[in-house]
Every structure is written in structure tokens, then in C-alpha cells.
């Protein structure tokens, strides 16, 4: 039982650092009178894990029937010897019901992934501030930071009843991760100090990640929404092959290693695939393959690429409530395809969904509130922690147009752009006044926050200052309409704002900003583009500034993609810089900006730091990023992204507020498995 203690020890350490966080958040909320009036922002709460394992277990009636018929082993045998025990938020629930919900197509897999997030190895408590056990009952980080040991639950089963053991990790590591056909390039998550680590089986229920250099961050990575720690549902769907474990007993049949290349390919072709890799990608995807063994509370019975995505309870789910009832309470989830956002919102207002936060549009909040009684739902506003739901991400390595590239790479130019934005206007118009205007720095309550002054730095409207700065840069000549001219050819200086209509109506935000920039003499050309194309162009480094969120950066190390050029899949800040960083200088081009180099250096060093030093380090990075305005924040800490939650009044154990953050896998960390229908 040392393992448990070890976990609790580590958890306590984390909790000690995080404790003020929750209070501060609560305070931040109460001081905002606007929300008080609305009465829509509740208490950040959720089910909690308890150590006492109930003496006996109960199960859903239909499973009991199956047990009686001999088609399923008794519940006690289906559960691990040490199941996870959750104290439901309000009360122990009752079994039954179908959770009706909207999804908007096969690309909306995250909709389900997030509900299945308890298949992660380690997870966060409902406040998003503390690492807690999940699939693993505990972990141990060695003193030197080079080894992280994970302890599995004995007797835990896949959804098909097969045992879930350390071998499933070995299979993932050796047969999938190290197979170049499946994973062409190793991932940074599995490396420390530029060196790839190893995954080793210690015994049936113990595995170890071993690194050559200290990797204090690794447990954090495992708990975060990272490639290594995301869990099977998100990391092995949509063409991904990460996530640390996989159902070996099921997937082996598709791998050439266990037959032969020819046989595996023949098999794939017989099933209508071009080759075995393509077949594997589909077969290991829980959204597509109902046969796939999984660990989450529900499992797909009708795949996502049909008009109705259906999930039913996993009879081998490893979690029980304090009375020994195996979770989840709700029998099944039926997601119906809403072909567009308007239809999804209208149906939600008609009460056709039982709990929906995804795809609910903040701009429609007045209408959503008006229809509360008609649709018999409650509305909750959940506030996010990230600095800016709308962020102008600046390409600091734009080469196609040297003049534009020069200005984008100039800190004072970026600062002037930022000073030229009237954030209160945008907040009123697009956030209904519910956002917090400011820089990209995360909520002050977050441990990585550099402090309140950095929320305001360069981020409060000051047209005079902005004009002085631009004049100071030599951009003094203007055309008849008052727009500044390029210094190379005397033409108007045009800055392209690439915007995608995605989580918010960013093209409209961009238009408003473009209008505001007229006062600082900057002509912004708003380019509304389709998401894939915008990213494709960003990957090619063709964009000037792309408008997107910075959601996830509230925990910088776990999700740095929209803060620093470290992710080779995101070209927002200059893809060559990201390549340079990711390849340790082997590829790409080295940034010339010393501030950028410093920020990247600090970021790289974080892996070897302990908790406290890491947070300090993050604050330093934020100070650089805000001061240099690598990204220009507009308005954040709002319910705009997944924070408008409509919950049927028939549902019980619904938290007043859930954590909106990438690492919380909203609403995953609130354990939807504990929600139930009161009648």
C-alpha cells in the first residue's frame, strides 16, 4: 500500500501549491457584480474521490439481467479489486435514461472524447487544480526526476472483459509508438533534454517511464491533455496513435508483426481498406469502431460517421459511487447530428438536449435565457482561465513580404497594434460584457499567472501612445485616408487578419479590430478563411496575423501550442521557428529576436524543474510574451468557449460551475458518469 501513499504524497504536494488557487478563483468570481446579478455563475464543484472502498457492489438493472442470463460475469468480478470510488456531488443517483446531445459531424469527435476523459491515466479534480488518480491508482516520480512509475488497478478490465495490464502499455510502446509506419516521428512528450525516454513493464500492474534527463514535468504531462497523457479515446482517434496504452489483445490481429505484411494487407483489402495501416487507424478509433475495447464510462455502439452517434454503458467501467453502485448512472448517450450551429442551438432551446455546453453560442445567451422554462433547462455560465478567447497570433517569421515581415517582427509595432484595440467595445459586442479584457496572460488565480499588471500591460486602449510608437518606428507617411504607408514602395501598409468562423465569429471580431485600427492608421485586411485552409496557410508561413483562441495556455507547459513556436503542427508564430525548436536546432531557422530565444530557452528548461520553480519559470515566460506581444490578447476568462451550459432540470448532480480548461477536458473532470435523471 506504499503506492497509494506515494500518490497521496505527491498529490498533497501539488494540492499545497494549488490550494490558494481555488479560493482566489472563487473570489474573482464574487467580485464581479455583473455575474452576481445574472445568478448564472455557480460554485466550482464536482464529485470527489474517496479512499474507502464499499463492501459490496451494485449494478444497472439491465446488466443484472445479463448477469442472470450468464452473459456477463457478476459485477464484483467486472470491477478491479481497487475501483475508483466517487462521492457524487449531491446524492447517489439512480440508473437509467438516455442523454440526448448534439454533435456536428465526424470532425466533432472531441465532443465524445471529453465525456470519456476518465480513460486518462491521471486526471484533474473538478476544479482543475489538483492531479488525481484515474486509470492509474497512483504514480511515483523519482527524486532525480528521471523515472515516473505508474500503478495500475489490479483486476481492471477492458470493456470486452479482457484484463487491462502492463502488457497493454508495452504493446502500445513497442508495436505502435516505435513502428514508423504508424508513428513516423517520435513525439516531444516522450523526450527530456532532447532524448527519447523508454516505457518499461515492471510487473503486471506497474509500468515505468525512464528518461536520461530529469523530467519533473512528466506526471503533469500524463495528467494533461498531451499526446502522451490524453487517454485512449482522444489520442487513438482521428488518425492519432499516442496515449501510452492500447488494447493489445484486440489490435494485434491487424498488425503485420503478428502475421505478415502480406497477410495484414490482404486482410485490410478484404475489409475495403487500402493497406493495413489505414485499417488499423480505423479499427483503433473508438469513435468509429464499436468493437474496440475501451476503458471509459460508455462505449460507442453506433459510430460517429453516421447521423446518430450512440454510446452505451461500459459494463466493466472501473468507477463506483460511495454506495458501491457501478457507474455510469445514465444508460446511454445519443448524439444527433445537427447540420449547423443554429439548428443545434434552436433544438437545445426546445429542450431536445439534456445537457449541452459544446456548440452553445454565447451570442444567443439572451434567447437561451428567454426559453429556459419552455425547454425546461437551467443555464450555467462557466468561466475559463485562459487569458484571451480572441487572440491575434502574430507570425514573427513572415518572409513572403519582407516589409510586412519586418514590422510583424518588431515589438513596438505589435505593441502599438495591441494599444490600438478597444477591448471594452469587443467585450460588449461579442461577449455580452461577460469577458475580461486584457492580454493573453492567464487568469490571476492560475499558478502560472505573472500577476495582475501583466493582464493590462500594452493591453489597454491608448491611441495616442500607439500613434507615437508607430511614428517613432518611421511609419510616418500616410495616404489620403490616413493609413500609414510602407517604407519600401510607398504603397499602403496592409496587415492581413486571417480569421476563421469557428468557436466564435472571429471574422466579425477582426472586422471590429480593423475598424479600430483606422485610428492608428493601420489598414487591416480581414480574410475570412475556412479552418483547414487557414491552418494550411499558417503551416506554410504565409499569414500575417491569425485570429484564434489561446485556450489551453492557462497551463503553459501542457498546451504551449498557442503561446510559443514549439509545436510543429502549428505555424501561427512562424513554422520555421517551431521546427527549429522541436528539432533542437537541427531543422528550421533560429529566431533572431533575443526575447523569443530567451522565452524558448526558459520553456525548454522547465521539464527539469520541480513544481515551484516551474511555476516561477512560467511566470517569467508570460512576462516576456506579454511584454513583447508575441500574441495580442483581446478578451478572455469568459464562458464563450463551451461555457454556456444548458442542463435539463431532470438531471441531478450537475455542478454549479465546471472547470473550463484544456486539461480539465470539459466536462470530463466533472465526471458525467455521476450525473443522473431524477425522474
Amino acid at each position: 500500500m506504499t503506492t497509494r501513499r506515494k500518490f497521496l504524497g505527491a498529490g498533497a504536494l501539488f494540492a499545497a501549491a494549488a490550494a490558494p488557487t481555488i479560493d482566489a478563483l472563487a473570489q474573482a468570481v464574487t467580485t464581479r457584480s455583473a455575474f452576481d446579478q445574472s445568478g448564472l455563475v455557480g460554485k466550482l464543484e464536482g464529485p470527489s474521490q474517496v479512499a474507502t472502498i464499499p463492501a459490496s457492489f451494485k449494478e444497472a438493472p439491465q446488466l443484472a439481467t445479463l448477469v442472470q442470463q450468464g452473459r456477463l460475469p457478476p459485477v464484483a468480478q467486472r470491477l478491479p479489486s481497487e475501483p475508483m470510488v466517487l462521492q457524487p456531488l449531491e446524492s447517489v443517483g439512480r440508473y437509467g435514461g438516455t442523454w440526448r446531445r448534439a454533435f456536428i459531424g465526424p470532425s466533432d469527435g472531441e465532443n465524445g472524447n471529453r465525456i470519456m476523459a476518465s480513460d486518462k491515466l491521471l486526471f484533474w479534480d473538478p476544479t482543475g487544480s489538483k492531479i488525481v488518480p484515474s486509470v492509474c491508482k497512483g504514480y511515483e516520480l523519482s527524486k532525480d526526476g528521471k523515472t515516473t512509475t505508474l500503478f495500475l488497478r489490479k483486476g481492471m478490465k477492458w470493456s470486452d472483459g479482457a484484463p487491462f495490464t502492463a502488457d497493454d502499455f508495452v504493446f502500445w510502446y513497442e508495436d505502435m509508438y516505435l513502428n514508423k509506419d504508424i508513428v513516423p516521428n517520435p513525439i516531444a512528450d516522450m523526450a527530456s533534454g532532447g532524448k527519447q525516454g523508454k516505457l518499461v513493464k515492471i510487473d503486471e500492474t506497474t509500468i515505468q517511464f525512464q528518461f536520461e534527463n530529469p523530467y519533473f514535468l512528466f506526471p503533469y504531462m500524463i495528467a494533461g491533455d498531451t499526446l502522451i497523457g490524453g487517454g485512449q479515446s482522444v489520442r487513438q482517434s482521428g488518425g492519432n496513435s499516442f496515449g501510452a496504452y492500447a488494447p493489445a489483445h484486440y489490435l494485434k490481429q491487424f498488425m503485420p508483426k503478428y502475421s505478415s505484411e502480406a497477410e495484414a494487407n490482404a486482410r485490410a483489402r478484404a475489409a475495403g481498406f487500402d493497406n493495413w495501416v489505414r485499417m488499423l487507424h480505423v479499427r483503433k478509433d473508438w469513435q468509429l469502431n464499436p468493437e474496440l475495447p475501451t476503458l471509459g464510462p460508455w462505449r460507442t455502439t453506433r459510430p460517429i460517421n453516421t447521423p446518430t452517434w450512440v454510446m452505451e454503458r461500459n459494463p466493466f467501467y472501473y468507477v463506483v459511487d460511495t454506495e458501491g453502485n457501478q457507474l455510469p448512472y445514465i444508460d446511454s448517450i445519443v448524439m444527433t447530428l445537427a447540420e449547423n450551429i443554429e439548428v443545434a442551438n434552436l433544438r437545445a432551446m426546445a429542450g431536445e438536449y439534456d445537457l449541452q455546453e459544446r456548440h452553445m453560442d454565447l451570442a444567443k445567451l439572451p434567447v437561451i435565457l428567454e426559453n429556459r422554462d419552455r425547454g425546461r433547462y437551467n443555464v450555467h455560465l462557466d468561466l475559463a482561465y485562459n487569458g484571451a478567447d480572441t487572440t491575434l497570433h502574430v507570425n514573427m517569421n513572415h518572409t513572403a513580404d519582407a516589409e510586412v515581415g519586418k514590422w510583424l517582427a518588431t515589438a513596438d509595432f505589435r505593441r502599438a497594434l495591441s494599444l490600438g484595440i478597444d477591448r471594452d467595445q469587443l467585450n460588449e459586442t461579442f461577449w455580452l460584457g461577460l469577458g475580461t479584457p486584457g492580454s493573453t496572460a492567464p487568469a490571476e488565480a492560475m499558478p502560472e499567472s505573472p500577476g495582475p499588471e501583466w493582464r493590462k500591460k500594452w493591453s489597454v486602449l491608448d491611441v495616442a501612445q500607439a500613434n507615437r510608437m508607430l511614428d517613432g518606428l518611421g511609419l510616418t507617411r500616410k495616404d489620403r485616408e490616413g493609413f500609414r504607408l510602407r517604407t519600401d514602395n510607398g504603397q499602403r501598409l496592409i496587415i492581413q487578419l486571417t480569421a476563421v468562423k469557428a468557436f466564435m465569429d472571429w471574422p466579425a471580431h477582426a472586422q471590429m479590430i480593423a475598424q479600430q485600427w483606422r485610428r492608428i492608421g493601420i489598414f487591416a485586411d480581414v480574410r475570412e478563411q475556412e479552418r483547414g485552409l487557414a491552418f494550411q496557410r499558417a503551416m506554410a508561413g504565409e499569414h500575417h496575423i491569425i485570429v484564434w483562441t489561446n485556450g489551453g495556455t492557462e497551463l503553459l507547459y501542457l498546451y504551449p501550442s498557442w503561446a510559443l513556436p514549439v509545436d510543429i503542427a502549428n505555424g501561427a508564430y512562424g513554422i520555421e521557428h517551431a521546427r527549429w525548436y522541436a528539432s533542437n536546432g537541427a531543422q528550421g531557422t533560429k529566431p533572431t529576436d533575443p526575447h523569443m530565444l530567451r522565452a524558448l530557452e526558459l520553456f525548454r528548461a522547465a521539464a527539469g524543474m520541480d513544481e515551484e520553480a516551474r511555476n516561477k519559470n512560467a511566470q517569467e515566460i508570460w512576462k516576456i510574451m506579454v511584454d513583447q506581444q508575441f500574441h495580442i490578447g483581446v478578451c478572455g476568462q469568459s464562458p464563450a468557449l463551451m461555457g454556456v451550459r444548458l442542463a435539463s432540470r431532470r438531471l441531478g448532480n450537475i455542478p454549479g460551475r465546471v472547470c473550463i480548461a484544456q486539461h480539465c477536458r470539459t466536462p470530463g473532470s466533472s465526471h458525467p458518469a455521476t450525473w443522473f435523471y431524477k425522474s
Partner: protein, 367 residues
């Protein structure tokens, strides 16, 4: 000489006859006047606009249409609007505007506003109506404002200009293609004719929207607004010329047998001369009718494409874009006046239909 004169005379009477017959269609006459008005509005869009159609302001978001008061308290003619202030109700999250009847903001005629180019040529900032000493948030909101606080009346004017020109340009291209291909088809006959006719049949039996969508989606997404504008016009007209071509071919074939064409041919006139001198004028009225019937289809096409996000994109302003802006639940519930944008679309399409019908009847009373 004498022969040419008499020719002119004959042609003139043909057109004149058409005009006489046309004048009898009251609805068509009214439509013509309406359309003339619309094109006039479009020509003077910026002059008539009361505000910069692009200027955003959160303080003026979702203001319902506000009337212009014509007379002052003392009964004198001094048009003015009232000051208006908005507050967000933090329970319903709606913006609530209150009119302050004590604060009058007077209207200046031919005052100075934002700068624009009249007819794209003359730089000026004179507008029909501007406000005298406005405070921030004051404005002439005849048709209300949108989410970004932009004045709908001003936007609608500019949109009208864009959409009507797209229609005209598109129809011109269609007309060119239609007359050219229809004419070739009729003049050369044989394989050429068969080929062109089969092409027309194929194009006509294709579902157009998927095609537009396919072609529009294939446009480079990084094109500027102007490039997209022209590309969209060309795409629409590429699929719209078939009707015109059929009309032209039919008339050509009919006329070929007519005496005066035969006579010209016998007199040794060149083919080009026969076509342009003799044949085209004699069915000019049919072409005019066909064109006026093709225009509304053009306009609807642009509107549909923009509506689907595959046509023009903001910050361009067109009818389709205004309609797309209005196509969401919050608009219907909170700012239904934005649907006003649909009215000019409907009116113009109706007017073109009536006009086209009138012209067709006038040109061809028996056909």
C-alpha cells in the same frame, strides 16, 4: 443611302412598336421606374448613406430603427433625431436602449461625413444627411443597426450597389456568350450547332447549385475581395448563358428565312453585315427581355453563394452578406429589423420579373 434610311426607319418602328406595346403594361412600367430608382440609389449610395457602412461601435449595437422627427416643438421644419443610450440588462443580457426626448440632435443637409468617391471618380465627403454636433452613439438609424453597431441603411445602400453591379456584369458576360454561341450555333448549323445545343442541354440538366459551389469552392481562398467578386460573377454567368443562347439561336433561325435577310444575302451583303446590320436589331427587343429575366437569377445566385459563405466574404457588403448576417437565431429574436435587407432583394427581383414579362410580351405579342 435611301435604302439605309428606310432600313433605319423600319428598325425604329419595330422598337417603337415594342415600346408602345410595353407602355400598356402598367406593372412593367412601374417596375421600370422602381428599378431606375434602385440604380439611382446605387449610384449615389455613399452620398445617401448617413454613416460609414463599415464603422463599428459597441455603443450602437442592435439599435432598433429610429424615426426622424421632421418638425421641432414650435412646429418649424427642423428634422432631428433623439439622443439614445443603451445599457445591458445583466439578467437578460439584452441591450436596452432608451430614447432621451430632451436631447435633440439636428440633421444637416449636405453636411460633411466620411470620405468617399462619387461614381468611383470624385472624392468628396458631402452626404445628404449628417448630424449636427452628435455625441458618441448618436446617429440617424432609419433601419436600425447590426451587432457591430453598423448602420443598416448605409450598409444596405452599398450592398445594393454591389449586388446590382454583379448582376449587370454577370448578365453582360452571359449576354456576350449567349449571343456569340447562340449566333454561331444558328449561323453555322451542322456539327457546331449540335455540339453547342448538346452543351446547353447538359448544362441545363445539371443541378446548378452544386456546380456553383464546386467552382466557387475551388477559388483560391486567399484572393482579395475584388478578385472573388469578379470570379463569382464569371462563375455565375458561365452557367447562365444557355437561356440567352437558346433565344438568340431560335430568333436567328426564324429570321434566316425572313425575306429581308434573304434579300440582303442575295444583294451580296457579308455575313457579318447581315447579322449585325439586319438581324440583331430586329430581335434586340427579345434580347432585352431575356436579359431582364436573366438578371434576377444572377442576383439570387450571388445572394445564395454569399449566403453559403462561398461567395463574397465580409468586409465586402452585398445583399447575400447582409442576409447571411441576419440568418441566426439571435437576429430573429433580438434584432428582427435586420431582415429588412430581404425587402430590396425581393422588390428588385420582382421588378425585373415584371419588367422582363412586359418586355417579352411587347416584343413578341404572339409568342
Amino acid at each position: 443611302m435611301a435604302q439605309i434610311d428606310s432600313e433605319k426607319y423600319a428598325v425604329a418602328t419595330q422598337l417603337q412598336l415594342t415600346w408602345w406595346r410595353f407602355r400598356r403594361h402598367k406593372l412593367a412600367m412601374i417596375s421600370m421606374v422602381v428599378l431606375a430608382l434602385f440604380y439611382l440609389l446605387a449610384a449615389f449610395a455613399d452620398f445617401l448613406a448617413t454613416q460609414d457602412p463599415h464603422a463599428t461601435d459597441a455603443r450602437t449595437s442592435y439599435i432598433a430603427p429610429q424615426p426622424i422627427m421632421l418638425f421641432d416643438d414650435d412646429g418649424s421644419f427642423r428634422p432631428h433625431v433623439y439622443g439614445i443610450r443603451g445599457v445591458r440588462d445583466m439578467r437578460t443580457f439584452k441591450l436596452v436602449y432608451t430614447v432621451d426626448p430632451n436631447r435633440k440632435v439636428y440633421i444637416d443637409f449636405f453636411g460633411r461625413g466620411y470620405e468617399y468617391k462619387l461614381f468611383g471618380l470624385f472624392r468628396t465627403d458631402i452626404h445628404l444627411m449628417t448630424l449636427k454636433n452628435p455625441e458618441r452613439g448618436d446617429g440617424i438609424y432609419i433601419l436600425g443597426t447590426d451587432l457591430l453597431g453598423r448602420d443598416l441603411w448605409s450598409r444596405l445602400l452599398v450592398a445594393t450597389r454591389v449586388s446590382l453591379t454583379i448582376g449587370l456584369v454577370g448578365v453582360t458576360i452571359s449576354l456576350f456568350l449567349g449571343v456569340l454561341l447562340g449566333g454561331i450555333s444558328a449561323v453555322y448549323g451542322g456539327i457546331v450547332d449540335t455540339l453547342i445545343q448538346r452543351t446547353i442541354e447538359v448544362i441545363r440538366s445539371m443541378p446548378t447549385i452544386p456546380l456553383w459551389l464546386g467552382l466557387a469552392a475551388a477559388l483560391p481562398n486567399d484572393w482579395s475581395v475584388l478578385q472573388v467578386y469578379f470570379a463569382i460573377t464569371i462563375i455565375i454567368s458561365l452557367l447562365a448563358w444557355t437561356d440567352l443562347a437558346r433565344v438568340v439561336r431560335g430568333k436567328f433561325l426564324a429570321l434566316k428565312e425572313e425575306d429581308f435577310v434573304m434579300a440582303a444575302e442575295l444583294a451580296g451583303a457579308s455575313q457579318g453585315r447581315i447579322i449585325f446590320r439586319h438581324m440583331l436589331p430586329s430581335f434586340a427587343s427579345h434580347i432585352i427581355a431575356a436579359v431582364s429575366l436573366a438578371l434576377p437569377a444572377m442576383i439570387i445566385s450571388e445572394t445564395s453563394l454569399s449566403f453559403l459563405g462561398l461567395g463574397l466574404r465580409p468586409p465586402a457588403i452585398s445583399w447575400g452578406i447582409l442576409l447571411q448576417d441576419a440568418q441566426n437565431i439571435q437576429t430573429l429574436a433580438l434584432a428582427p429589423w435586420l431582415l429588412i435587407s430581404a425587402i430590396p432583394v425581393v422588390v428588385v427581383i420582382l421588378a425585373f420579373n415584371f419588367l422582363g414579362d412586359g418586355l417579352r410580351d411587347a416584343a413578341d405579342p404572339y409568342g
